[in-house]
């Protein structure tokens, strides 16, 4: 196989973003097809260069094949829908049923989240694991916030040791997820701005105190509702095939849910205090694709193969 054809296949692989379990079969099949085609063309008297050029033309554009392949594989089963929306549903349920202040329920939820994430991460990182992974990052953030309340000397130690380590680990998770597909990073980080929004609602001063507890009781049904909306969003995300629809869904639903948090807290949507979570929400949707672009910069994707834009003959 020539360098040109290898690059062609590599580009399809990169753009189709298939699951690790499906990718080898799909790529072997395309490679076998190209080998058959080249053999036929060479036997018909084509030079190697002509054969490669004709083969690439007749195979079709990278963008078109990759998009269609993505759509053939992207739709998750109903079992995956259930698994992917469950963490948001459980988190919402903790507030709707007012169980959020019982350590036993919180511990059960935490163990369930960590165990499920670990299982999914070690079993091929299917799409559903990323919504669980988002909640697994929460304990790291909560511990970081609790460390702020330590005596002065200790909080300095936390600043030196815990925060760099936590940030390094967080970045590592985001990079690994983005390597698979940046959309999964957005999916994973989607609850973060919502949680920040609610945190600012219940603790406008940035510190959690008795007033905050009272506010959580008051806002619990709304908090629950916003996570139920996220659960429905993720369910629809898993069933959708088209990538652009998935991106639009995350953007619209994320901003709407954040809007619910802001509106229920202030009665208006132009509160400057909520500029931060809105910016975080845009970051959730814009930083992962930029990060992916950076990660892929090392890969050689010749311009001539990026998108030839031609339509199928038929």
């Amino acid at each position: 196989m020539t360098q040109e054809l290898s690059e062609y296949l590599e580009s399809i692989k990169s753009k189709a973003r298939l699951d690790y379990s499906d990718e080898p079969g799909v790529m072997s099949e395309l490679e076998a097809h190209i080998e058959d085609k080249l053999q036929e063309l060479t036997e018909a008297g084509f030079t190697e260069e002509e054969a490669v050029r004709t083969c690439l033309w007749e195979m079709g554009s990278i963008k078109s094949i990759a998009r269609q392949m993505y759509e053939a594989y992207s739709q998750g089963s109903w079992k995956q829908v259930l698994l992917a929306s469950m963490p948001h549903f459980l988190f919402g349920l903790l507030f709707v049923l007012d169980w959020w202040h019982y350590p036993s329920w919180l511990s059960i939820a935490l163990i369930l989240i960590l165990a499920t994430t670990f299982y999914g991460w070690c079993h091929g990182k299917p799409a559903w694991v990323f919504s669980w992974l988002g909640y697994s990052l929460l304990p790291v953030v909560v511990v970081g916030l609790l460390l702020l309340y330590l005596p002065k000397g200790w909080s300095f130690m936390a600043l030196l040791v815990y925060y760099p380590l936590a940030l390094w680990w967080l970045l590592r998770v985001i990079v690994q997820t983005t390597r698979k597909d940046w959309l999964f990073s957005s999916l994973m980080l989607l609850p973060v701005p919502i949680i920040i929004g609610w945190f600012l609602t219940i603790s406008p001063s940035g510190k959690f105190n008795e007033d905050s507890m009272e506010r959580v009781y008051y806002y619990a049904p709304w908090i629950g509702l916003s996570f139920m909306v996220l659960a429905l969003t993720i369910a629809a995300f898993i069933r959708l095939r088209q990538r652009w629809l998935r991106i639009s869904l995350l953007a619209i639903s994320g901003l709407l849910t954040l809007g619910v948090a802001v509106y229920s807290a202030t009665g208006r949507l132009n509160n400057p205090a909520f500029l931060a979570p809105v910016l975080v929400m845009w970051g959730v949707l814009l930083i992962p694709p930029l990060l992916e672009r950076q990660l892929k910069n090392g890969r050689i994707i010749p311009r001539r193969h990026r998108d030839t834009g031609f339509l199928p003959t038929v």
């Binding site: 072997s28 097809h33 007749e58 195979m59 078109s64 094949i65 053939a72 003959t313 038929v314």
Partner: protein
């Protein structure tokens, strides 16, 4: 040629199921067979065949199996499933009804109206 492309898009599943009804085939063989049987009418970008085949497989209408050839190369053979057979019967009936209705309008003299 857009209209031809749209026509193929609407009937690609039936065409693929119909070919696989006769014998199990691999991708490249399907492309050649489709081109030969339609006397060159159905010539499309070959890479786009595989997403169509994989969609059919995901829907349970066809199944696939890798086979090792004597030269050490591997090929993925597709065959129609029972669900695919039932779907094909249904689509053939719909297509024939449609074809008859169109003929009645385009060629009324041949249709005896």
């Amino acid at each position: 040629m857009e209209p031809k492309r749209d026509l193929f898009k609407g009937s690609s599943n039936s065409l693929l199921l119909s070919l696989l009804e006769q014998q199990p085939m691999y991708g490249y063989q399907i492309v050649k067979e489709l081109e030969a049987r339609s006397q060159g009418y159905f010539k499309f970008k070959e890479g786009t065949l595989y997403p169509a085949l994989h969609r059919l497989e995901k829907s349970g209408l066809i199944s696939s199996k890798w086979q090792m050839l004597s030269n050490g190369r591997q090929r993925r053979y597709y065959s129609i499933t029972a669900k695919g057979q039932a779907k094909l019967v249904q689509e053939k009936t719909q297509w024939l009804d449609f074809f008859t209705a169109v003929s009645l309008i385009l060629q009324p003299e041949k249709s005896g109206i």
